[in-house]
């Protein structure tokens, strides 16, 4: 039974570091049109001081040796965007390696099947209790893989029952407009057709906030979000 005890600043730092290390997301596959705007935003993570649970079993299982999987925050437009479909690329993978999920956050279009290959030399048990997609892949060893089809949009939190510090999120989207929030809290979604949108900014621990945003025909709509 592992339990990681982190101080609030430490957690924030960890998240930022993780976000900084994350691979930049590919530009949205949107057919260029005459006039496209963009969304420039900034996410301020409230230094929440969550209640601490007394560590009644210090050092048990060497919990401190494992770093809880950090998941970068993601900003995305809610709902379908006319004329813009999320690219159905190669079959995406959420692999388990070094007792962590790779990548920490996976953004996929609705209807995508995702492979969950086990690359570690021991069992993993991947499951999700998220309403968007509840699944339990059971235990399987190295080299095996399971596939889940995500047929509803939304955020699916993925855990491994065996290794509690392992976590990841699958963001099932209906449009290609999304961006990871950088370590400095900044995010930028380019090539958005002008119009009114609903922008969701989601963080693994803090949930998501949806704001209305109007993207101009040219230039950038600026958004500041607090979570």
């Amino acid at each position: 039974m592992l339990r990681l005890r982190l101080a609030a600043p430490g957690a924030a730092l960890l998240l930022l570091t993780a976000a900084a290390a994350a691979r930049p997301h590919a530009a949205p596959a949107v057919r260029p049109s005459a006039a496209l705007g963009s969304i420039e935003g900034h996410l301020t993570l409230s230094p929440s001081a969550p209640r601490r649970v007394a560590n009644r079993y210090p050092g048990e299982g060497g919990g401190a040796a494992h770093r809880v999987g950090s998941v970068p925050a993601v900003a995305f437009l809610v709902g379908p965007v006319a004329g813009a479909r999320a690219p159905a690329g190669e079959r995406p993978r959420l692999s388990q390696r070094d007792t962590s999920f790779q990548p920490p956050v996976l953004v996929i279009p609705v209807g995508t099947s995702v492979e969950f290959p086990n690359r570690d030399p021991f069992f993993h048990n991947v499951f999700s209790y998220s309403s968007t997609k509840r699944f339990d892949l059971g235990r399987y060893p190295r080299g095996e893989s399971r596939t889940v089809v995500f047929d509803k949009p939304g955020v699916v939190k993925v855990y491994c029952e065996i290794h509690q510090w392992m976590r990841s999120a699958v963001l099932v989207v209906e449009n290609p407009f999304h961006a990871q929030v950088g370590a400095d809290g900044r995010f930028s979604i380019a090539g958005v057709p002008p119009g009114r949108y609903r922008l969701a900014v989601w963080d693994f621990d803090r949930g998501q906030r949806v704001v209305d945003v109007t993207v101009p025909a040219s230039g950038a709509a600026r958004v500041d979000v607090r979570l």
Partner: protein, 1023 residues
């Protein structure tokens, strides 16, 4: 006279009441003390038992609660640390649906083998807002239904997030709940989770079985979980216990319970849950109640016995008293022939004897008096009998009356002498009656003349008037006589009377050998002269006499006449009649005088109960009071063993163990104690015994007892030391239960001697009759023959000391004994130097002497563990070497005469009750008797342990004697039957000390009479 019966009733009632009070009071007091002691002990024991039960139940419940809590904690902690629960709670918080959460937890519940329907789980967010509640898979309609809000509040408020435990009611069902935080591994608290398990009947049953009680959990005014009995109706009483701090007793279906409520959860906002336990009392109270019942029954039986005894004794007392009273009445009525039968030889018998002597004396006196009355007047006889008449004389004022028959000589001439005497007697009788009717004294008869005196030897007042009335009475009487005579054709008798009054000398005159009371003087002479001059029917007096009269008379003067010795002539009158009749009849006084005896009967001394009984009662009460008052630990004197006194050889093969016992006894014997105590006054006895036991290896054992006391038959004599026992026992094969013993030890005959020294086995101070009563068979005195032998039972008490008991208490004789045992059977055979009846002086000789040894055998079988039966036999010479009184028949030695004893014994012991009985058949071969005098003696006893240390015992023993030839052609019992009742009570003051008291009552017709009871107390200390 009619007051005698009421006087008797008063005596009887008073005596019966006192006797009843003494007997019933003693027994009643004992009963009261016993029952009270048992009650107190019962309460104490019940309180202790219940306190233990309560403590035990609290332990059991605490353990049960701990088990429940730890089970819940173990599960819920595992679950909340699993990311499934927090993932599910996270989702519920994000999406507002608890379906997944409930599903996930229910899955865990199933895995943990918890019954889903009895498992509560509920959730809140990190602020304590309820998220959802479910029983297993079933989501409760209200999300907060399963949330123990106070527990959640405390949990969230606490810094450490320590989980909390409590009780929570959901849908009228009580749940033990455990609430803890749900956090993700990165430390974020998502909310709380509560896991609860229902408190079920089976849990109540489990606890109930562990503590042996009925259990009910009460919440919200109802029974939420209970044992089956509690469910069946006891629950209403148990529910009512909620909030009650005191224990309560209830009866339910004929069973008794003690209810006790404990609050199992408390705190602000938490529901009060009460655990009510019903301890069954029957099991705890039962044994005490049966003891109490037994004691009460035994006590009431004893009380009834005491009442019956009192009635019987008082009746036995009243019957002779009634006979005496009846006899007294007859004596009062003048029947001096009456005799009272002296049935018994006690005080009443003595009284009857005294009464008989008295009536005999009275009869004799009456006979003398009768003679006296015939020769002298009754008054004079009275005076004479009183011895108050002096030989000399005294001058008294007396009235003298002379009466004689006119012409007696002429009338009787030629008459037959018998007829003359008859004539004279007729006159004298009538005249005497008339005189005595007036209180006069007929002084003498001289020929046909009667002389009567009024005023001597004592005056009754109005003596002159009496004399006149007497004279008139004589005249009347004679008139009646003459009427008859005339009717028969006989000539009438004419009586002349003279009366005079004056000073005269009165007294006994004559020689000391023959006295004659009479009066002499001038006035007497005048009366005599007047009589001489009186014609038939005339009553002559002189003038001065008339002046003496208080009553007016009709008198006719006859003119002056001269009298010899009187210078002047005196006027003579003849009295015709009295003018008026005297109003006062003084005779009433004389009649009522004997009535004074009435008072003496009612004031007869009330027999007081014997002093011994009174002292016994007082000391018994004191002993009981002391026994109750002295705490046990105060009496725990150390023993030699505890003090480390003793010696063991270095290799352990030789061991010397000393021990001792000190007994202080007090005896209050009655006037005539017949047991082996030589005293009739109260005395104390100190008995100090020192035992030295030597163990040499496994095979050899030796024991010596040195004793100092006031004799084997204790009495008021100096302390004497002696070797009570000294013997060596060899057990050749320790495994074979076979041993040989030689030396001085207690005879193996009978049951009582074997245990008399063990305070644990013997409840009394004095032995039963077979071991404590001297018959008239002597070990030294030789009877001449049957006739002489029959008188021995009635000889003075001092001779009974020559008699031998069937068994002389516990005879410590010199001898050798073989003992063996096999399974439930044990047997002993011994040769002792003398018979069991032999005197202590005989016990110590090494050889048997001329009289020869005594052979003893004893066998005992343990029928069941509670019951032992035994039989013993003894045959041996009982005469001592030196005999007295009469020679032995020629050619016979003392060894020829044997005593043969058979003994049968039984012991039953179960629980606090022990009962024993013994029957001894004793046959003597007595020199010069063709018959073999036999006696049968027995006892029955019972001992009850009332409470720890306290016991009471009763023993009845008796001895009966056979009929033998009485030398006069008949057969007669050779000694009087004796019965003995012993009541004893004892209290163990500590481990080593004990106090006991005994009251003994013996009953027999054997002389001499005297109260034969004994009160004894004993304090003993074994060390």
């Amino acid at each position: 006279m009619t007051r005698f019966p009421s006087g008797l009733d008063r005596i009887r009632h008073s005596f019966a009441a006192k006797l009843l009070l003494a007997l019933a009071g003693t027994v009643g007091l004992l009963l009261l003390v016993t029952v009270a002691t048992i009650r107190v002990q019962t309460h104490r024991q019940v309180a202790v038992a219940l306190r233990r039960s309560l403590q035990q139940s609290r332990r059991v419940f605490a353990q049960q609660e701990r088990d429940v809590r730890e089970g819940l904690a173990s599960d819920v902690n595992r679950w909340v640390q699993s990311n499934r629960i927090y993932a599910a709670l996270d989702d519920a918080l994000m999406n507002g649906s608890v379906d997944t959460l409930v599903l996930a937890t229910d899955y865990e519940i199933t895995l943990a083998l918890r019954p889903p329907a009895l498992t509560l789980h509920a959730y809140t967010d990190a602020s304590g807002n309820p998220v959802g509640s479910a029983l297993g898979p079933r989501i409760l309609p209200r999300p907060d239904a399963g949330v123990p809000a106070p527990l959640v509040r405390w949990l969230l408020a606490s810094d450490t997030g320590t989980a909390t435990f409590g009780y929570h009611l959901v849908e009228h069902r009580l749940f033990a709940v455990y609430t803890t935080l749900v956090a993700n591994p990165f430390g974020t608290v998502l909310g709380t989770m509560t896991l609860g398990t229902a408190v079920t009947d089976s849990m109540a049953r489990e606890a109930g079985q562990a503590i042996g009680a009925e259990v009910c959990f009460v919440a919200d005014g109802g029974c939420v979980a209970a044992t089956s009995a509690a469910r069946k109706g006891l629950d209403s009483a148990m529910v009512a216990m909620a909030g009650v701090r005191q224990a309560r007793r209830v009866d339910w279906r004929g069973r008794r319970f003690l209810l006790r409520a404990d609050r199992v959860s408390a705190g602000a906002g938490m529901r009060d849950v009460w655990r009510v336990v019903a301890f069954p009392l029957d099991g705890v109270l039962g044994p005490f109640e049966s003891i109490q019942r037994a004691a009460l029954l035994a006590g009431l039986g004893a009380l009834g016995l005491a009442v019956i005894l009192a009635i019987v004794l008082s009746r036995g007392f009243a019957r002779p008293v009634r006979a005496l009273v009846a006899a007294t009445e007859r004596v009062a009525a003048g029947d001096y022939e009456v005799r009272v039968e002296a049935a018994s030889r006690d005080e009443l018998g003595t009284l009857a004897g005294a009464f008989n002597e008295m009536t005999e004396g009275l009869m004799l006196k009456e006979r003398y008096r009768g003679v006296l009355d015939k020769v002298v007047s009754r008054d004079i006889a009275d005076e004479l009998l009183k011895g108050e008449i002096l030989l000399g004389g005294e001058t008294r004022r007396v009235s003298t009356l002379f009466a004689d028959i006119r012409g007696f000589t002429a009338m009787t001439e030629g008459m037959e002498p018998q007829r003359v005497i008859a004539l004279l007697n007729e006159f004298m009788e009538r005249a005497s009656d008339a005189v005595e009717a007036e209180g006069g004294v007929v002084d003498k008869f001289v020929g046909d003349e009667l002389m009567a005196v009024f005023g001597a030897p004592m005056s009754r007042g109005s003596d002159a008037d009496r004399a006149v009335r007497a004279a008139l009475g004589i005249r009347r009487a004679m008139e009646a006589v003459n009427r008859d005579r005339r009717a028969r054709g006989e000539p009438p008798m004419g009586v002349g009377i003279g009366i005079n009054c004056g000073d005269a000398v009165a007294g006994n005159m004559g020689s000391p050998g023959r006295l004659n009371y009479t009066v002499l003087g001038e006035s007497v002479n005048i009366a005599s002269r007047l009589c001489d001059q009186a014609g038939p029917g005339q009553i002559l007096v002189v003038e001065p006499f008339l002046a003496q009269l208080e009553t007016a008379v009709d008198a006719e003067p006859l003119g002056p006449r001269s009298f010899k010795g009187i210078s002047a002539p005196l006027q003579v009158y003849t009295i015709r009649s009295l003018r008026e009749t005297p109003a006062v009849d003084d005779r009433a006084e004389t009649v009522s005088a004997p009535g004074g005896a009435d008072g003496s009967a009612s004031s007869s001394p009330n027999p007081s109960p014997s002093a011994g009984a009174t002292v016994a009662g007082a000391v018994l009460a004191a002993v009981l009071a002391l026994g109750g008052a002295v705490p046990a630990h105060a009496q725990n004197l150390p023993t030699f063993e505890e003090l480390g006194i003793g010696w063991t050889s270095p290799d352990g093969s030789l061991q010397v163990t000393p021990s001792g016992r000190i007994e202080v006894e007090g005896f209050v014997p009655g006037d005539q104690y017949r047991g082996l105590i030589d005293a009739t006054d109260a005395f104390a006895n100190l008995r100090a015994s020192l035992f030295v036991d030597v163990f040499a290896g496994q095979r050899v054992f030796g024991s010596v007892e040195l004793r100092a006391d006031r004799g084997e038959a204790p009495a008021d004599r100096p302390l004497r030391g002696r070797i009570e026992q000294a013997y060596l026992r060899v057990t050749p094969l320790p495994s074979a239960n076979l041993s040989i013993q030689a030396g001085k030890f207690v005879s193996p005959f009978g049951g009582w001697p074997q245990r008399h020294a063990s305070p644990a086995q013997e409840a009394f101070i004095r032995p039963p009759l077979p071991y404590d009563y001297r018959t008239v068979v002597s070990t030294t005195a030789i009877t001449a023959g049957p006739a002489g032998f029959q008188t021995w039972k009635n000889r003075p008490e001092i001779f009974r000391h020559l008699g031998a008991p069937p068994v002389w208490a516990a005879p410590y004789q010199v001898g050798a004994m073989l003992t063996g045992g096999w399974k439930a059977l044990s047997a002993r055979a011994a040769v002792m130097n003398s018979a069991p009846s032999s005197e202590p002086g005989e016990w110590n000789s090494i050889g048997a002497g001329e009289h020869g040894p005594s052979y003893v055998a004893h066998a005992e079988v343990k029928v069941i563990p509670e019951l032992r039966l035994g039989v013993s036999y003894d045959r041996g010479s009982y005469l001592q070497d030196q005999t007295t009184l009469n020679p032995l028949p020629p050619g016979e030695g003392v060894d020829h005469y044997k005593q043969v004893l058979w003994g049968f014994e039984g012991t039953f012991a179960r629980g606090p009750v022990e009962a024993r009985g013994e029957l001894l058949l004793d046959t003597w071969d007595v020199p010069n008797l063709a018959d073999y005098p036999r006696d049968v003696s027995f006892y029955l006893e019972s001992k009850v342990k009332l409470t720890a240390g306290l016991f009471a015992a009763a023993r009845y023993s008796g001895i009966r004697f056979d009929k033998v030839d009485n030398g006069a052609g008949g057969r007669e019992r050779w000694d009087y039957p004796v019965d003995r009742l012993q009541l004893a009570a004892g209290y163990r003051l500590g481990r080593t000390t004990e106090l006991r008291a005994e009251y003994m009552l013996n009953s027999t017709d054997a002389p001499p009479a005297g109260s034969d009871d004994l009160f004894a107390v004993r304090w003993s200390w074994s060390f």
